[in-house]
């Protein structure tokens, strides 16, 4: 296995080096030509640097990290050779990597503002949903009578896709910001709410009894027992909500915004700038990866008591 890993690491270096050499020495296909491929080269260097850092740090999951590097460098080489150099498919629809990465250099200001705007709307709506849905879910899960009324309603309303509210949100709320925050709030609300209610139900009755023998007040019961007890289920709901929010914000921006990640892609799609469309997709993927990583970290921290 050890030698297998070393072979794999050599292969990654070879792949990156080949891509680099191709990018620097071999000219692009005429249709793919770009004035400045320095960003693509820079990215290859960054990738190589990260890989060396990995070799040096020797993380615990080194096999997985190496596999991911192999996948990335392999795909980059294929992309560069097939589209960049040979232009096998329509060069207009399938730009080469140098062309796509050059967009990041040209448009970085618009992109940064777009990421900022999108994330601001996303966090506002999402946090609002957390603040409303968790207490509501905990209390309603705890109070059987409230539950009997609220749960069927929640179940009926929850499958309605949040974008359906878009016409009303645009008409009734003053700004794009307010209406998209509202959409994300409504879309995120139900999965978190259902997660909290279900989480309260899934707490072992014997644990509840143990808590009751301590003579806790209602508030202490909800915040010190029900909240942590329901936390695993709340997190699985919150994860679904987060993904829903991403879809919602992108779609909302495509329809009605003047900035943001979804708007960027939609806008350039209208002008048939496919290199910018792909750059926008890569940007969204990067943002999602970072946010999911943070989410994972928070989840691991909050549920550290679950790990054996």
């Amino acid at each position: 296995m050890k030698t297998g890993l070393v072979t794999e690491q050599c292969l990654i270096i070879a792949l990156l080096a080949t891509t680099l050499v191709l990018a620097v020495i071999v000219p692009d296909a005429p249709a793919q030509a770009v004035s400045n491929n320095s960003i693509f080269i820079g990215i290859l260097f960054v990738l190589a640097f990260l890989f060396v850092a990995e070799l040096y740090l020797q993380p615990k999951n080194i096999q997985t990290v190496t596999d991911i590097f192999l996948l990335l460098s392999g795909l980059l080489l294929l992309w560069e050779v097939l589209f960049g150099k040979l232009a096998l498919l329509d060069p207009f629809l399938f730009p080469g990597p140098a062309k796509v990465f050059a967009v990041f250099g040209a448009d970085w200001e618009i992109m940064a503002r777009g990421v900022g705007n999108s994330l601001f709307i996303l966090t506002s709506g999402y946090l609002l949903a957390l603040i409303v849905a968790i207490p509501a879910g905990l209390y309603i899960g705890w109070r059987k009578r409230l539950f009997a009324v609220a749960y069927p309603v929640a179940k009926a309303v929850s499958p309605i896709p949040p974008t359906v509210y878009l016409p009303y949100a645009i008409v009734l709320l003053p700004t794009f910001w307010a209406s998209s925050v509202f959409l994300i709030f409504i879309g995120s609300l139900w999965p978190i709410f259902v997660g909290a209610v279900y989480g309260v139900f899934s707490i072992d009755q014997r644990l509840i009894n143990s808590a009751r023998t301590l003579g806790l007040s209602e508030n202490q019961m909800v915040w010190r027992i029900l909240l942590p007890g329901a936390m695993p289920s709340i997190f699985s709901g919150a994860m679904i909500s987060l993904i829903m929010s991403f879809i919602t914000i992108t779609v909302a921006e495509m329809i009605a915004a003047t900035s943001g990640l979804g708007w960027y892609i939609e806008y350039h799609h209208q002008f048939a700038n496919y290199d910018k469309v792909i750059a926008g997709m890569i940007l969204i993927a990067l943002v999602v990866i970072v946010i999911m990583f943070l989410f994972d970290r928070i989840q691991q921290h909050c549920l550290r008591w679950q790990q054996v």
Binding site: L214, P228, Q306
Partner: protein
Amino acid sequence: MLLKRQCAKHGVHPIHRSTCQNVICMATINLENLSMIYGSNDSKYTALSDVNLDIRKGDFISLIGPSGCGKSTIIDLVSGLKVPTEGTVLIDQEPVNGPGPDRGTVFQDYSLFPWMTAFENVCFAIEHTNGTHSRAAVEESAQKYLDLVGLGKFRDAYPNTLSGGMRQRVSIARTFSMNPRVFLMDEPFGALDSLNRIYMQDLLLHLWSEGARRKTVLFVTHDVDEALLLSDRIAVMTPSPGRIKEIIDVPFARPRCRKSLSASADYVTLKAHLLSVLYCEMQEAIEKQSVDHRTAA
């Protein structure tokens, strides 16, 4: 002042406040004509029928009997988790009205909150029994009780990472730290292996008999040796409907030594008697079950 407020909070009658003011909070428990019937008219199940039991201050009482005889139901009634269909539970002559921290309960394996470390579990219990304590006092006390059960070093471990025996030691530390008037233990060592169980029995006896902390204990078990080693009196129960069949005095002097006790003639006779009572019961129960089964079929 602090204790007085505590008493007022728990609704202790002024006459009985004296017991609480001595810090040594002990209490009597009286079960009067307790009946517990589950289910509605068409499918009734009588878990307890007319149970009477008077427990003196500082007494260690064991409830023993086959499963389904209502041992755990009695614990639930005394702790206030359930309300009896008939009869009352009196603690220091005050009727029980819902659960409260004046009765410390140790369950088989579900007492600790898995999202709190051992230390946080104990702190949490102390905070909610003595609301007025300062944080430093709470933490000091929690550390003291964890040290007492030999788990001072495991204070930051989550229950999931502890063994079953260690978890029960934390549970016991937590219950002692609450300084309740009454101890309720529902088969606390039932899930432990025999070596751990011996260790825990000795630990419990040691903690319990330490002068100032001597509590009134109601202890549920299905282990004859455990009952004989620990208790002052043993209430033998019969199932369907749950009733107390016999109350046996355990006359052995304290402190008791496990080794010499099990060799003494009195112990052997008492154990034989207990076993025969339980055995008869079990046979009756099995016969009854098979009869029920046949009629049902």
